[in-house]
């Protein structure tokens, strides 16, 4: 990790676990996603994780803003922003350190949820390709959500405001590409919206179709919002 990204990353990651918040978040995430999944799983009676990956974006919609809401808003509120920005740390290093910490936290939560496919594998024979694709897609989509949430956290000193606005913005960008929005659009705009929407690319990856264009899409969203984040910190000057 370049220069001062490392200490920032370490501090932020430890920050999650210095308070009970991390454990609460992880418990709620695992509890909610397994409950929603298994509720339908036994009804359908099919050893498939399709439903789990279908639920994931909706759980992430609330889980990811909860992970990112604190990252900048608290610095502003407590005044540590002034310390951080007068340390020999570039704006990009600070943004990247925080982003990677939130990504590590998300990856850890996702890794813990592997108990769900493990359990399904005990009962039947789920499609491994779909599981790999689903987790890769989940990490990419979650990573994009995180970049959006982190950027929004830098705009306010109120964590709750950061949370709510993040949920709204992510939801808005997510449904752009959903069918019920596309139906109402003129034909020319359909491919644009369907490409820009945060959900469609995940759908294809989580079906097990790993296309580099979908990966590039999420990476571009991440880079775009991290760039906005760097700019939004600079503005204070």
């Amino acid at each position: 990790m370049m220069g001062n990204t490392r200490p920032i990353f370490k501090r932020e990651l430890a920050g999650y676990f210095n308070s009970p918040i991390a454990y609460i978040f992880i418990t709620v995430f695992l509890g909610l996603s397994s409950w929603l999944f298994f509720k339908g799983f036994f009804v359908v009676g099919e050893a498939s994780l399709r439903m789990f990956f279908g639920i994931l974006p909706w759980v992430f919609l609330f889980f990811v803003p909860a992970i990112t809401m604190r990252l900048w808003a608290e610095e502003r509120k407590v005044g540590t922003m002034e310390l951080l920005m007068t340390f020999p740390v570039t704006d990009a290093e600070a943004v990247l350190g925080k982003y990677l910490a939130s990504l590590a936290f998300l990856a850890l939560s996702l890794a813990l949820s592997l108990v769900i496919p493990a359990f399904v594998a005990l009962l039947g024979n789920p499609d491994t390709g779909q599981i790999v694709g689903g987790y890769l897609g989940g990490l990419l989509m979650g990573g994009a959500f995180l970049a959006i949430g982190l950027f929004i956290s830098s705009l306010t000193e109120n964590q709750i405001v950061a949370f709510i606005i993040s949920v709204v913005v992510i939801f808005g960008l997510f449904i752009l590409g959903e069918d019920f929005v596309l139906f109402g659009l003129p034909d020319r705009l359909v491919p644009v919206f369907s490409y820009v929407g945060l959900g469609g690319h995940y759908d294809s990856i989580s079906r097990g179709v790993i296309d580099s264009r979908d990966i590039i899409y999420y990476l571009s969203v991440i880079v775009f919002f991290l760039y906005l984040n760097v700019k939004s910190i600079e503005v204070r000057k």
Binding site: I8, K10, G79, T86, F87
Partner: protein, 318 residues
């Protein structure tokens, strides 16, 4: 070490800093004085690269605060007002974090942290969470954080606010001690603090610099006039004539004969220098009895009040 040239900074319609210039030489402890909202914090934030000036330039340790911001930040230790700290960390891991960010090599970090714990008196709170410390200890952790990379320049924004009197004295002693081999800028609105710790003073009001100099220099700059009270037994007319004839004396007022034949005179002079001595010699030469010879010095407090309450046009600067 620090060179500020015509910096200005505005926030919307308010001008926080208006064309301020000053210099701080190596080894000086500069007191930055002014009422609340005068622009002290903004100026310090510009010097520490938290804010950028709208116009003008500042160089710290030879580096421009805008163009070489990282170099400046490496050489400065900054304690913002109220010593904000990461509340969720304990004292040692916080200092470790700062040491790492400050680029202290891993092998040396522990030694530096131990040193800071000793210098700042943190021994008794070493494992405690930063969030649960008292205000005084937070301030010390803040100071330890500012000093950990052994910076050439320290910028301390109101380092003693919110502390009780004994803590204030301790922190001042600490600042004096660490200021011996470093360049320090210290802001405050508490006057005795400046007299206790600073070798030079800058007074700022409503964003503009109103005075700068050693406390003694400010004395003559602000007053421009010195007053000496004498009480003499002797012929009033002669005394007045002799006193008025002395170099630099502007006026002599006699208050009439008082108790025991002594007359009190108020002598106002442009330059207070050795006037007292001259009056004493004149009294000896003329065979007067001298009962009182007192020089009225303006305290920093008077200077401050004078300079910060004058209308812009009336200011007598430097």
């Amino acid at each position: 070490m620090i060179e500020v040239r015509h910096i200005s900074k505005r926030f919307g319609a308010t001008v926080a800093v208006d064309d301020v210039s000053f210099e701080v030489r190596k080894g000086e402890v500069l007191g930055f004085l002014g009422p609340n909202g005068a622009g002290k914090t903004t100026t310090m934030r510009i010097l520490t690269c938290y804010l950028m000036p709208d116009s003008g330039a500042a160089r710290v340790a030879g580096y421009d605060v805008v163009d070489d911001s990282l170099e400046v930040r490496r050489r400065v230790g900054y304690l913002p007002e109220n010593a904000p700290l990461y509340q969720d960390m304990d004292v040692v891991s916080y200092l470790e974090f700062v040491a790492e960010v400050r680029g202290i090599p891993p092998g040396e970090r522990l030694r530096r942290i131990k040193n800071m714990v000793e210098v700042c008196g943190l021994g008794s709170v070493i494992g405690r969470g930063v969030g649960e410390l008292s205000k005084g200890y937070k301030q010390r952790v803040g100071l330890a954080q500012t000093l950990i990379h052994d910076p050439e320049i320290l910028v301390l924004d109101e380092p003693t606010t919110g502390l009780d009197p004994s803590q204030i004295i301790e922190i001042r002693e600490l600042i004096k001690e660490i200021g011996k081999e470093r360049t320090v800028i210290l802001s405050t609105h508490i006057l005795p603090e400046v007299e206790a710790t600073c070798s030079r003073v800058i007074i700022i009001n409503e964003g503009s610099l109103v005075a700068s100099g050693t406390p003694e220099e400010l004395d003559s700059a602000a007053g421009g006039e010195h007053t000496i009270h004498v009480s003499i037994k002797g012929d009033e007319a002669t005394v007045k004539a002799v006193l008025s004839g002395m170099a630099g004396v502007r006026s002599v007022d006699g208050a009439g004969a008082g108790d025991g034949g002594f007359t009190r005179y108020t002598v106002k002079a442009a330059d207070g220098g050795d006037l007292g001595e001259k009056i004493f010699r004149a009294a000896v030469d003329n065979g007067w009895t001298l009962n009182e010879l007192r020089r009225e010095t303006l305290s920093l407090e008077d200077i401050f009040l004078r300079l910060t309450t004058l209308e812009p046009g009336e200011r007598s600067v430097e």
